[in-house]
Symmetry: C2
Subunit: 193 residues, 2 copies
DNA sequence: GAATAACCAGACCCGTAGTCTCGATATTCG
DNA sequence: CGAATATCGAGACTACGGGTCTGGTTATTC
């Protein structure tokens, strides 16, 4: 048995919750570690004992707080599945989580390590799910077997990503349908079965 | 005639050049104003006399250094025009300019004012050109007249933007062709003429 | 030659990420 | 119980960057 005082799991949770709340609340400007510590009612040192940097805390808050937020339905209507999935992503991007994603993205632009972690822990899992669904569609004969998966995935998520990060136009759930509709002619198998 | 010493246009140019060079060189981490001042051989105060903030300097360096970098060819083959345009954008994103764009994007995520300026001075001009080209295609009967321009534009630039900012996969000029090919079935007028 | 405004150099202020110290509190083992 | 260990909170401290201010100098106009 390890000696010494036990780690306060509750404090850890308060840190992540406060981080999610503060960063996600759309407060203009960056959220400082001091603010997080104060909001979580925790000493700064306690944060740095368990996370290596401010950004690591935020990424954890993002991943933990989004664990089960973008499910991928699995029916035989793959197009409808994608629409439904995109709607959940859109809802996510318009929620506090979207704000946290933007913050992580910002950090990732000038810190390659953060970029790696962001991709590994947030981006790739969703993308892998989506790719698997495309592959399944090919098996079922619903999707052309000569598509370039990575290109199609970029085309699916790219529009959402662009609106989230550029903010040139709002992102509404109607876009799930519009994007799917725009892409499907190039994806659907013209000779199904 | 205004009294006093004239503004040193050359110093201004050195600032923008040094900024472009430093930020674009892919040096990991942020470039500080002190570094820019030193590289441009200019006093820090001289920079702040002509620009309101560090970010404003970088945005200026971006816009000035990219003025004529993404031309849009105009032939009767609109699809080919788009491919050519995308190739220039891809080349741009893979050049030092891409690094500067990422830096600006990062700042824009936590500063709405910067976001506005970035959109107005960098993003929208290219997008407007592109939209005009789409509209022309509709006039010529090459493009469906029921497309949602904004959705199509997002679909065109989204994949490039995603690869630049996420970096999950490399962005090569071959993507210009692939993206256009993937989108065109949903764009081209099925009954041309 | 006086007034003006830019220039360089560098001190200075302030806020933030991250470290360090210290005294208090849990927990385990003997 | 008491020694050893590891956490905790509080807050001082360092390092550094954005941005301001001061002061001495130089160019320009009247």
């Amino acid at each position: 048995m390890p000696r010494g005082r036990k780690r306060d799991e509750n404090a850890q949770k308060r840190v992540l919750d406060s981080t999610f709340e503060l960063v996600g609340s759309g407060t203009p400007g960056k959220v400082s570690i001091n603010e997080i510590a104060a909001a979580a009612d925790v000493a700064k040192q306690t944060i740095y004992r368990w996370w290596p940097s401010r950004t690591a805390v935020i990424l954890d808050a993002l991943v933990v707080g989004t664990m089960k937020a973008t499910p991928f339905p699995e029916t035989n209507d793959i197009k409808a599945d994608f629409e439904a999935h995109l709607r959940t992503v859109i809802r996510l991007f318009n929620s506090p989580t979207g704000q946290i994603v933007r913050e992580m993205l910002a950090e990732a632009q000038t810190d390659a390590t953060i970029g790696d972690e962001f991709r590994t822990r947030f981006w790739q899992p969703r993308r892998d799910l989506s790719r698997a669904r495309l592959e399944r569609g090919v098996e079922l004969g619903l999707i052309r077997n000569d598509i370039d998966y990575e290109i199609v995935l970029d085309a699916i998520y790219g529009p959402l990503w662009t609106r989230l990060t550029i903010g040139h136009l709002p992102l509404t759930s109607a876009h799930a349908t519009k994007i799917t509709a725009a892409l499907w002619p190039g994806i659907a198998d013209p000779n199904p079965g």
